[in-house]
Amino acid sequence: MNNDKWRMPKWFHQMGSPKWFYEFAGPLQLWFALAAFILLSMGIAWGVAFAPADYQQGNSFRILYVHVPAAILSQSVFLAMAVAGAIGLIWKMKVAFMVARSCIAIGASFTAIALITGAIWGKPTWGAYWVWDARLTSTLILLFLYAGVMALNQAITERNTAGKATAILAIVGSINIPIIKYSVEWWNTLHQSSTFSLTQKPSMPAEMYLPLLLTVIGSYCLFAFVLLVRTRNQILQTQTQTSWLQQHPDVTGT
């Protein structure tokens, strides 16, 4: 049987080697850090200081430049976690489990930031810190999902088993996220006529939109940077017995 069609490229399997990943991610994380710093500082400075104030919300809309990237990332990170977990289960790569494990706290932080900035933004614009809006509710449930994954990952002491269990839960959760999202949206329209809709935004002018784009891309770079740092830390923690790490300049200090 010819399986060549399904063979993954060589670099894909090289990623599965902790040593190779450690070496590969070292310089990469610096580039992501630099890109994140430049993009985020540019985007936030532009958005906070130079973009025009909103004609309805005044200056309070400027929290958008933190809120929206965090909200976008909260879902992307969950998906990344599920994909990394699936790769770990299918190709039996321990590094993929480490990536998935690194995603948990990052994603939970982004979700928490999205909820907190949303509450702060909600007070001046809606008059309440919390409303049971569909998006708010599904983001809150996403935070609960992260909490479940985190609790499971920490409850199992054996790392490989923890990785597999986390991967299964992350995959099941990511399949459930769209279902939860639509059920919450429908529940919301049924139970209360929403006075505030987040979905019907007035279209933004470019000088408001471009800083947002910068901060969103910058947040992705920040995520990649923190992910690589955390994954490399886990490699350092788990590979202490291997000879490549004991002779590595990062460890010997030469």
Binding site: I141, L152, A155, V172, N176, S183, V184, W187
Partner: protein
């Protein structure tokens, strides 16, 4: 394979019949939780009848979660789970058989108890069939989804609390459609759409969860 599933179902039902507390306690818990609401909120019938659908659904969900912890626990502790996983049948059939038993001893009694609870909470009589139908379609989904969590926490210390954390967020769609179904029936609106959605969730869960739970059991 069907024979294998039947053997498992008979065996588990027999085991539960010998230890009835395992399945009776969640039912008592269900009744107690429902009874707490009039005490905690208000005994007025107008208020209670508005809340009844949600209260019964939430209580049913919690009772299901409570009994899920034991789904694989005894078999794991006495080692028979390992032997069952080694049996020459697909592992998902084992999970499916276990879920069937779980539903028979937790979901089905909840459905049979629900009209009494509905009466205690002054749910309009017209909505009782909707409540029972929605529970009939919803509780198997709760058992199926819960099997994933039960499989994941098998052998983990303090698994019961963990199970609740893992599974409750996944129950959101079921409780929304289940409670909305009853709410619609109270208002005299058609409920077939909700039942169809609950059935769709059940079929989807039936497709995915036995596979995921058996993968989790083999960790």
């Amino acid at each position: 394979m069907l024979g294998f599933m039947m053997v498992i179902i008979k065996r588990d039902l027999l085991l539960i019949a010998r230890q009835p507390a395992d399945f009776l306690n969640p039912l008592v818990f269900f009744v107690l939780v429902v009874a707490m609401f009039p005490l905690g909120v208000s005994p007025e019938s107008a208020l209670l009848s508005q809340m009844a659908a949600g209260v019964i659904w939430v209580a049913a969900m919690l009772a299901t979660l409570l009994s899920l912890e034991l789904l694989f626990k005894h078999d794991h502790q006495d080692g028979s789970l390992e032997q069952l996983l080694l049996a020459p049948y697909p592992n998902w059939s084992l999970v499916l058989a276990k879920v069937c038993v779980h539903w028979l001893v937790s979901g089905l009694p909840l459905i049979l108890l629900s009209p009494i609870m509905a009466m205690m909470l002054f749910l309009p009589y017209d909505a009782v069939p909707a409540l029972m139908l929605s529970l009939m379609l919803g509780t198997p989904t709760l058992s199926l989804l819960g099997a994933i969590g039960a499989a994941l926490v098998t052998g983990v210390r303090g698994g019961g609390m963990l199970l609740t954390l893992l599974i409750l967020p996944l129950y959101v769609p079921v409780i929304i459609f289940g409670a909305s179904c009853v709410a619609a029936a109270v208002l005299g609106m058609p409920i077939s759409a909700y039942l169809a959605l609950l059935a769709a969730l059940l079929i989807f869960a039936l497709m995915i969860t036995p596979w995921a739970a058996s993968a989790a059991l083999k960790l």
